[in-house]
């Protein structure tokens, strides 16, 4: 099976959007997960709810808010445009932003769970050996939470690949710029002769998702063995 130039373009764009959305949101997700797992402060419940909002809001609403904020005349969009010459509305970067926000709660949940379940006594041990909180975080907490981080990355990557509502609302459906896999499939279903093409793209989507799931499963298993120390028996 070889891709048509159009399919290749859609595929490449989708991967680029999903990859960037994951890479950029990961540090924020780790920080938010850490704060939610460890800190207690007034308004924490509200903060937690806000982080989870994209999970329960209609994606169109998220896309619309993004358009209001980051559109050329939106408060943030205007600043970005005038000061830095950056426009993200109706660009692939905007698609990545929308995808990243929609996948954010999934990423945070998975990482937070592993922060909450790891053996905190090991962190105490690290601090008696001279590690400050940053040292403890980088050498003990984060490595031990790796299985959760990988799971979070995969979930949000898969969510990004499938993002539709927020994307089409925020950055529209521009071929070669914002037409990702789901948008392309949708477009083909709207024309009378598009069934075959829609089916081919759907098959690609299935393969892509399966591949991502498989890869993450392998990586999580490895990471879990490593943090448990089971892999030492070689």
């Amino acid at each position: 099976m070889s891709f048509t130039p159009e399919e290749a373009e859609v595929l490449w764009l989708s991967l680029r959007v999903a990859l960037w959305s994951v890479v950029v949101s990961l540090p924020f997700a780790v920080a938010v997960a850490y704060v939610l797992a460890r800190a207690s402060f007034p308004g924490k419940t509200l903060f937690d709810a806000a982080v989870h909002l994209p999970l329960v809001l209609p994606p169109v609403v998220v896309g619309y808010f993004l358009l209001l904020l980051f559109g050329r005349r939106g408060p943030l969009g205007e600043i970005l445009d005038q000061w830095f010459g950056i426009v993200i509305a109706f660009r692939w970067t905007g698609a990545a932003l929308a995808a990243g926000i929609m996948g954010f709660p999934l990423m945070v949940r998975a990482i937070r769970l592993s922060f909450e379940t790891l053996d905190r006594k090991l962190e105490d041990a690290a601090s008696t050996l001279g590690a400050g909180w940053m040292g403890v975080f980088l050498t003990v907490t984060l490595p031990l939470a790796l299985p959760g981080v990988i799971t979070g990355v995969l979930l949000s990557f898969a969510r990004s690949l499938g993002e539709f509502g927020a994307t089409i609302t925020f950055v529209s459906n521009i071929p070669g710029e914002t037409r990702t896999l789901p948008l392309a499939i949708y477009t083909y279903t709207q024309v009378p002769s598009g069934d075959a093409a829609a089916l081919r793209l759907s098959a690609i989507a299935v393969l892509l998702s399966l591949g991502a799931l498989y890869l993450s499963e392998v990586m999580v298993r490895r990471a879990t063995r490593r943090v448990r120390g089971d892999d030492a028996v070689a």
């Binding site: 006594k121 041990a125 001279g130 892999d231």
Partner: protein, 361 residues
């Protein structure tokens, strides 16, 4: 040098502990739940007392009144936890080097010395996941030592080991005590361990300190020994080897109340040893017994008669400057008329060696 005076309330439990610990091994001894681990956690800075102060080598680590609380990483206290707490994702070598990541680095010679001392060479590339319990504790001790600690805390380091591993790790701890000049605070509820390893004993019960003193004093006082069956009480005596009869495998030991003989003493003439005489192994006679198999008969004076439960009486006998304990029945006390001031002969059936070859600090 450790000087500590802390208090903390947690629900119904109130911890109020105050003691000083010098060179050598200080044992925090008492039942589980006595607050021993809370004390070492406070020393390490993992637990914050409500009040009081903690000083290590004259430096204030914690002082509630002055608002001083040095954070754990800056206290330079080596901590060996009951469960080892090795980092599972790192190799033994990386575990040992862990403290080096956060200090100006340790000289390679120090690493080699600790690895050799604890016999860790073969384990370096392995992961904690496939070490035995004893190996894990040895690595944990090495890791703590390599953080250049001013004080080493050992919290029941043998608790999760089987009897055989206990002996193995205990030998390494004794080696550390003698080879590395670092004060050690050793938490335990096991009499055998404390008697064998401690120079000073801090006896704790229900959150407070009942007694502090040299091991032979504190461990010899039956009134202060909580949670311990009639089998275990007794006297701890520091003595010196004066004669070795190789043919009969019997050594003669001198202490300040006379001499004792013991079998199987692995020490040279002139070397100090510590022996333990359990109260159940001491019988009392009013006249010097003749033609008996017991080798150790010591003349002394009764200094105390304490009735215990179940018809058992604890009799303290002063022999020279040493107090021996004897456990007899109440009927025997009545028949022989045992009372304070009475001169008696203590017949010692068994002398067990708890420490050989190293002088108490």
């Amino acid at each position: 040098m450790l000087s500590l005076d802390i208090e903390r309330s947690l629900g119904d439990f109130r911890l109020a502990a105050s003691f000083e610990a010098g060179e050598g091994v200080t044992a925090l001894f008492g039942r589980s739940g006595a607050g021993k681990t809370s004390v070492v956690n406070a020393i390490a800075g993992i637990l914050h007392p409500d009040g009081g102060r903690i000083e290590i080598n004259g430096e204030t680590m914690f002082d509630a009144a002055r608002g001083i609380n040095v954070p754990t990483p800056k206290r330079h206290v080596g901590y060996v936890f009951q469960e080892g707490r090795l980092f599972p994702h790192l190799s033994v070598r990386q575990n040992l080097n862990y403290a080096g990541l956060f200090s100006r680095g340790m000289p390679a010679s120090e690493f080699d010395r600790v690895v050799a001392l604890l016999g860790l060479r073969e384990l370096l590339e392995r992961r904690p996941g496939n070490l035995s319990g004893g190996e894990k504790q040895r690595v944990a001790i090495g890791r703590a030592l390599l953080s250049s600690p001013r004080l080493l805390l050992l919290d029941e380091p043998l608790a999760s080991l089987d009897a055989h591993r206990k002996q193995e790790v205990l030998q390494y701890i004794e080696l550390i005590r003698d080879e590395v000049k670092v004060p050690i605070v050793y938490v335990s509820h096991a009499v055998e361990e404390v008697v064998r390893i401690a120079d000073t004993v801090v006896l704790m019960s229900a959150g407070s300190v009942l007694a502090v003193g040299p091991a032979e004093d504190v461990m010899g006082r039956p009134d202060l020994r909580p949670g311990e069956g009639a089998f275990e009480g007794g006297a701890v005596i520091d003595a010196k080897v004066v004669e070795q009869d190789m043919e009969h495998d019997i050594a003669t030991l001198a202490f300040d109340g006379g001499t004792l003989t013991a079998t199987n003493v692995d020490a040279l003439i002139g070397e100090p040893v510590r022996v333990r005489i359990r109260a159940r192994d001491v019988s009392i006679a009013l006249e010097r017994p003749r033609r008996i198999s017991i080798q150790n008969v010591l003349q002394g004076t009764i200094t105390g008669v304490t009735a215990g439960s179940n018809g058992i009486v604890d009799v303290a006998i002063e022999v020279g400057g040493t107090i021996l304990r004897s456990r007899v029945t109440r009927r025997a006390v009545e028949q022989l008329g045992l009372a304070e001031g009475l001169p008696v002969y203590a017949m010692v059936k068994a002398v067990s060696l708890t420490r050989a070859g190293s002088p108490p600090a």
